[in-house]
């Protein structure tokens, strides 16, 4: 189900209403009931997978706690549950051995959540959840299922399970603003950029060189607005319910190195790999060679998390991260530009899912860079001049807001209700007019839904 759709907003509205009218103790269970209904609406088959992962890790959690003293049994339990859920993730997501299977929505997100839960209990970081319904809510809380982030049990559950809540207007206003920001990013920016990217990517023979680079740079904007827009909706809606979801982005395109980029992009995934793969492998505590090998392992796995087609993409990020440790310029701006270019060029593997084709398109930048052809044909790529103007203004607005978010929000806090209302209604009207949606435009799904 699409996060930005009439039906989804209706579900959110009903959920928020029910959440605050039911008795305090019933709040988590109400959320669970809605989440289960949401998942059932996607089909019974996906439901079975999430139930299986939840139950196996729930039992594993209790067994890990009970066998706290017996390291061998603990290792065995953890190994079995991780291998089992890991195999399901890889097999189902990549349709290995099984075909025509509906890939359960959010399988990558909830699988990593349940794995982190078991590992943390293994490490005795916190106690296992005994209430199975509550544990189900941790895995099935519906807003995050379509796009993430990967929540840690100890981060989300204090507010997810909290029952002593009263409707809070300030938090709800912030939540609504965040939802609107997400919709704006998705409909006004990402979907508009997608028209250009699709035109170029669908005809790789006609559009190479400068066109390919143009598509890569544009895709950087599209993917950021698409993915972070979806996360904004999830965070915003959760804010209305007073559930804290971790931030998944921190101005990634001002990163000064690939290492810095991964501290700012898809933070929940980077942190997961850092805590559960990189550090256990030895992290940077061992020699240089071993550290670099660890980096490559982590990034290859990160690519695999996205799908088998993205392994090379992950590996290349790892390689550029290692190179970036050695090669750096003293200029912040140059470092930022170089990092942005590397990241953008590597998005080719997302634009052209065929790895060979993606490599050819990257190669074409260096062999047939005809920028004049791009300038001459820029008006024939699917957007009118007015649309280009809207795109430029809205992109600047989004990146400026995200960079100055805290300051802007702080200033807004002191503004009157009337000013806040005018701002909110203006954004809604702008989205209605300048959003790219409806008949004739079919890409309303979020890119990261498939992961």
């Amino acid at each position: 189900m699409n996060l930005v759709s009439g039906i989804m907003f209706l579900i959110m509205l009903v959920t928020a209403f029910l959440y605050y009218v039911v008795p305090k103790k019933a709040k988590p269970y109400t959320l669970l009931a809605i989440s289960v209904a949401f998942y059932i609406s996607l089909g019974w088959q996906p439901l079975m997978f999430i139930i299986f992962s939840t139950i196996t890790t729930y039992i594993a959690g209790i067994l890990l706690e009970k066998n706290a003293e017996n390291k061998t049994i603990k290792k065995l339990i953890l190994g079995v549950t991780i291998i089992l859920n890991g195999i399901i993730l890889v097999v189902v997501k990549n349709q290995i051995f099984v075909k025509n299977l509906i890939v359960p929505m959010g399988i990558s997100y909830y699988t990593f959540q349940v794995m982190s839960y078991n590992i943390d209990i293994y490490r005795e970081k916190y106690k296992a959840q005994k209430n199975i319904a509550k544990y189900f809510l941790y895995t099935m809380y519906f807003p995050y299922l379509s796009i993430g982030p990967i929540n840690r049990y100890n981060d989300i559950t204090p507010t997810l399970y909290e029952t002593n809540k009263k409707f809070n207007l300030t938090q709800s206003y912030y939540g609504l603003s965040r939802i609107l920001l997400g919709i704006f990013k998705k409909l006004v920016v990402a979907n508009r950029v997608q028209i250009l990217v699709s035109t170029i990517s669908q005809d790789p023979n006609a559009y190479q060189g400068a066109f390919a680079l143009f598509a890569m740079l544009l895709y950087s904007i599209q993917l950021y607005c698409d993915f972070s827009g979806g996360i904004d909706v999830v965070i915003g809606f959760s804010k209305i319910l007073q559930i804290n979801i971790i931030e998944n982005f921190n101005n990634p395109y001002i990163a000064e190195s690939i290492q810095d980029f991964w501290r700012r992009w898809h933070i929940s995934l980077s942190n997961w790999f850092r805590d559960y793969v990189y550090i256990p492998l030895g992290g940077s505590r061992c020699g240089k060679l071993r550290t670099n090998i660890n980096v490559l392992i982590v990034f290859t796995l990160s690519g695999l998390w996205h799908g088998t087609a993205y392994v090379l993409w992950g590996l290349l990020h790892g390689i550029f991260l290692i190179i970036g440790k050695v090669v750096k310029t003293p200029s912040k701006i140059i470092n930022r530009i170089v990092t942005f270019l590397i990241v953008s060029i590597l998005w080719s593997f997302f634009i052209w899912p065929d790895t060979i084709q993606a490599c050819q398109m990257i190669g074409s930048i260096f062999t047939q860079f005809n920028y004049q052809a791009l300038i001459q044909n820029i008006g024939n790529l699917g957007l009118s001049l007015a649309n280009y103007i809207v795109l430029i203004i809205s992109t600047i607005a989004v990146f400026f807001y995200d960079a100055k978010k805290s300051k802007i929000n702080e200033k807004l806090k002191s503004k009157s209700v009337e000013i806040k209302l005018i701002l909110t209604l203006s954004v809604i009207l702008v989205i209605f007019v300048f959003g790219v949606y409806g008949i004739g435009f079919n890409a309303s799904e979020f890119i990261y839904n498939k992961f």
Partner: protein, 335 residues
């Protein structure tokens, strides 16, 4: 506190007004381009004293001229036709019309019986966009929508037409709150001549039987007419293609006989009417042009007069004054 509430209400009111205006601004006006989209709404501005109402697709609004019917026999009529009007749309348009007036005769062009499901969103829009809101419109949208359409986009046209923001023209401002007359009693004049040179090959069909849904709505149209003491007349306009199969004709004939209503297939009367497809069509036989429509309307006016007890309004001074004024404009336009 009261001041604050008033301010908030005022802000909401302004936002709603803006939203309403944006909806109106962005919706196509159908005044100079795709004028077929304004045919349904032109009716609302007309006086409602018609003894004959036509419903159906382009074969009615392109082929029959109510002004000729009046000129020849004093028959007052109106064509509530629209592009690719489906039979369920004809039913709801008739139902809506009956809220304004009850004619003596309803003429339904049976060409749409060949379609059992909506053909395209664009055609739905041409028929529905400018129709006044009523229960009939709501039901008609539900009956007409394709899978990718939503009721919300009909209620709030901005959801469908927001991408027109860079295509707005002077017309969108000029006709924001008004319309110009594009038809004469629902007849769309076309003076061009594009002769019929060859008739496209007639394809054999796997099944010629009209779908149940078409019969269901044809029966509904008939029932509606009976309830209101209206005589239903089925016609097939003389459009050469899409080909009107004999098997189609036989089914309509059977329905007409069974229900004791008249059916005229004008394709059988082309010679009698004097239609010459080398001169009387503007698109190689698909529709008649002005000369063809005039010939057909003259013939049809006699048929209507003979078969139905229709008033000769040329004898009614009050009505005749109105129609003479209309005729003046009509004759000026066709000359």
């Amino acid at each position: 506190m009261v001041k604050k509430i008033i301010k908030i209400i005022a802000i909401l009111a302004i936002a709603l007004t803006l939203f309403y205006l944006l909806n109106k601004l962005l919706m196509p006006k159908y005044m100079t381009d795709l004028v077929e989209g304004s045919m349904i709404s032109q009716y609302y501005n007309e006086e409602k004293n018609h003894e004959v109402i036509f419903v159906g697709d382009c074969e009615v609004y392109a082929n029959f001229s109510p002004m000729v019917l009046y000129q020849e026999q004093g028959i007052t009529s109106y064509i509530r036709g629209s592009s690719q009007q489906m039979i369920w749309q004809s039913y709801y348009i008739l139902k809506e019309t009956l809220k304004y007036e009850v004619p003596k005769v309803v003429v339904f062009n049976v060409n749409s019986m060949r379609y059992s499901e909506p053909v395209s969103e664009a055609y739905n829009r041409l028929t529905l966009d400018k129709m006044k809101w009523s229960k009939e419109k709501y039901d008609m949208i539900n009956a007409s929508m394709l899978e990718n359409e939503t009721m919300a986009s009909y209620i709030f046209p901005i959801l469908r037409y927001h991408d027109r923001f860079d295509k707005l023209t002077e017309e969108d401002i000029k006709y924001l709150f008004r319309e110009k007359k594009n038809t004469y009693q629902g007849f769309l004049i076309n003076k061009e001549v594009k002769p019929l040179e060859s008739i496209p090959t007639v394809k054999k069909l796997a099944n010629y039987k009209f779908a149940d849904i078409d019969y269901e709505y044809l029966q509904k149209i008939l029932d509606l007419c009976k309830e209101n003491n209206i005589q239903l007349l089925l016609i097939k306009a003389p459009s050469v293609y899409p080909h009107w199969y004999e098997e189609y004709d036989a089914q309509i004939e059977e329905f007409a006989q069974k229900n004791s209503i008249n059916f005229v297939n004008f394709l059988d009367k082309v010679e009698e009417i004097g239609i010459d497809y080398s001169k009387d069509t503007y698109d190689r036989g698909l529709h008649l042009n002005l000369t063809g429509a005039t010939k057909l309307s003259k013939y049809f006016s006699k048929y209507l007069k003979e078969k139905y007890n229709l008033t000769d309004y040329r004898q009614n001074k009050e009505v005749d004054n109105i129609y003479q004024e209309k005729l003046k404009q009509y004759n000026a336009e066709i000359s």
